[in-house]
């Protein structure tokens, strides 16, 4: 075939140009990260004297030892895990129950309620943030884990996703179980839920990643240092950039904070990409 022979003949000038462009973009992607990692491995005083010293030896892991010894980054990671993990588990539970209810059961007002939930998808966080902040003040929930978890639970996306998924499962499955006198909850738990694992994975990854990286709500709700999530904590160390304990130390904190999610990404890449792009298109 024509296209094959063209490939065999070797690369044209155009091919090389495109290849060069992609490599240039790849360098722009990786460069800043490699630079930050290199900075984190340098002695702070040496960097002050000569910024170019970042490109050569000696390197040291002293900044990482200082990070582990002196910074709050551990407690922030823990907070982020509790918030993102809690939100993910609760979202999966609530969305699965509601998804089953909307897709399979009938109750007065169901269709109208579902349309209202769908309209909730169009509401951006900023439109409700201020009122939410006031409500959480009334409830006395600022600087608590429930205060950080509850707002995210109201997102309509999970219900929408699970409803779609339950609808796609053949009805014969649950009808057979119901005719066997199984309760509605039993049908949900034993028959249908095991079939929704792929959707649970998508929703779980998407929810966890979103909560882990959320910045605005923790910024206004968690104002005490011990309740900071990782995003707010790392942001707080940036405030006095110049007078900080040193660039190398700051970068070690950044690497320490960014590494877990990057490692998770490398292992579960396929699922993460599917989850994020699936959620974007919905």
């Amino acid at each position: 075939m024509a296209s094959h022979s063209a490939e065999i003949r070797g690369r044209s000038f155009g091919d090389r140009l495109l290849f060069g462009l992609v490599i240039l973009l790849a360098l722009a992607m990786a460069g800043p990260v490699l630079y930050v990692i290199a900075l984190s491995l340098k002695d702070n005083k040496e960097l002050m004297v000569d910024p170019h010293s970042v490109f050569h030896m000696p390197y040291t892991i002293k900044n990482y030892i200082d990070t582990i010894g002196t910074s709050n980054v551990f407690s922030w990671v823990l907070n982020s895990f509790i918030v993102a993990g809690g939100l993910t588990v609760l979202t999966l539970i609530l969305s699965s129950l509601a998804g089953y209810g909307f897709a399979r059961l009938n109750f007065p007002g169901r269709d109208a309620l579902f349309v209202i939930v769908l309209l909730g998808l169009a509401v951006p966080e900023q439109a409700v943030l201020i009122a939410r902040h006031q409500i959480f003040s009334w409830l006395g929930l600022h600087n608590t884990y429930p205060g950080l978890i509850l707002p995210g639970l109201s997102s309509a996306f999970g219900v929408f996703l699970m409803t779609q998924y339950f609808r796609a499962i053949p009805k014969e499955l649950d009808e057979a179980a119901i005719l066997d006198n199984a309760s509605r909850f039993r049908v949900f738990w034993k028959v249908l839920l095991p079939l929704t694992v792929p959707a649970q994975a998508t929703l779980g990854i998407f929810t966890f990643l979103g909560a882990w990286n959320d910045y605005f709500w923790p910024l206004i709700s968690a104002t005490k240092k011990e309740m900071f999530t990782l995003t707010v904590g790392i942001a707080s160390t940036q405030q006095n950039f110049a007078q900080s304990q040193g660039i190398g130390f700051l970068m070690a904190q950044a690497v320490f904070a960014g590494a877990p999610i990057l490692i998770i990404y490398l292992f579960f890449q396929k699922y993460i990409v599917t989850a994020v792009s699936g959620a974007a298109v919905r």
Partner: protein, 306 residues
């Protein structure tokens, strides 16, 4: 349609027939937990926010009713008008770049080789980082006289501009960091669209001796037109909500030139604690985003009809 499905329930002799899809209040219990949260933390705040925007509110209560005063004050505030302009400017800088670079990468990396897979991984990797880490990385890249950028300029014997403090360049600096952060999603959306194009069309084109440029223009691009529109609208809605990068990289400066609407809301409501005016500003942001979302709805529907 099928006859209503019925089940026999009850004990032996007094068996009765029930329609298993008949409406039952009990079924509501499955959706009740979510609906409670939804009503309390999404629906109620949505309306309470509108209510607040008509009041001289403070942290705890709605305070005195003042009608449209907050909205009038907003549109007389030069900084608010500036922040609307800044937001549109930022969307204009980032969205075309994200769509075009994303498309370019998808076209180049849509192949089954090992190196293409590695590069796809690389280009998506920044998307999993949080905004605070991204801004930390880019602030250190931009830092005058010792950052990576000034060293690269220095290598070519030039002096790097102070990206984040120069009034003409600050927003561009934020936009570059944002494109770096967000490029993964457009690329992946284009890649999955490219993979859905049937291969036999390409084979037919090859038989017709179409060259690559012709194939790209008359087969590939028309097939992903809908994805292109989708990517642009998703990015408009998302980039419209710029906050973290601007707050962490420039604090909205110099001279409010990089202050987007969301940062204006944050300053007003959570730093000056003018809750009512902040609420009014967020209603205006909501309206602007709704317009973009409506455009998405109309466009996708028209395409579906065609």
């Amino acid at each position: 349609m099928a006859e209503p499905l019925t089940a026999t329930a009850g004990n032996g002799s007094r068996a009765k027939s029930v329609d298993i899809y008949a409406p039952q209040w009990r079924n509501f219990l499955f959706v009740a937990p979510y609906l409670f949260i939804f009503a309390a933390f999404l629906v109620f705040p949505l309306f309470w926010g509108v209510w607040l925007s008509f009041h001289k509110a403070d942290t705890f209560s709605s305070g005195r009713f003042i009608g449209f005063d907050n909205y009038v004050r907003l549109f007389r505030d030069g900084i608010f008008l500036q922040s609307i302009w800044n937001t549109f400017y930022f969307v204009f800088l980032t969205v075309p770049a994200l769509a075009l670079i994303g498309l370019f990468l998808a076209l180049c990396l849509n192949r089954q080789t090992r190196s293409a897979a590695v590069l796809r991984t690389l280009f998506f990797s920044s998307s999993v980082l949080s905004v605070t880490i991204v801004t930390l990385i880019w602030r250190i890249v931009y830092i005058p006289d010792m950052g990576l950028l000034s060293m690269i300029y220095g290598f070519f014997g030039a002096k790097a501009p102070a990206f984040l403090s120069d009034p003409d360049l600050a927003m561009i600096g934020i936009a570059i960091a944002t494109v770096w952060w967000c490029i993964g999603l457009p690329m992946m959306l284009f890649l999955s669209a490219l993979q859905q194009i049937p291969q036999d069309i390409y084979e037919a084109a090859a038989l017709d001796n179409a060259n690559r440029w012709q194939t790209l223009r008359s087969i590939t691009l028309p097939s992903i037109k809908r994805t292109f529109v989708l990517v642009v609208i998703i990015q408009i809605v998302f980039q419209f909500q710029l906050f973290g990068q601007a707050w962490l990289m420039t604090k909205g400066g110099p001279n409010n030139l990089t202050k987007p609407i969301v940062l204006y809301i944050y300053n007003t409501a959570f730093q000056r604690w003018d809750i009512g005016m902040g609420a009014a500003a967020s209603e205006i942001l909501f309206l602007l985003i709704l317009v973009a979302a409506m455009a998405q709805f109309l466009l996708t529907r028209r395409k579906a009809d065609a």
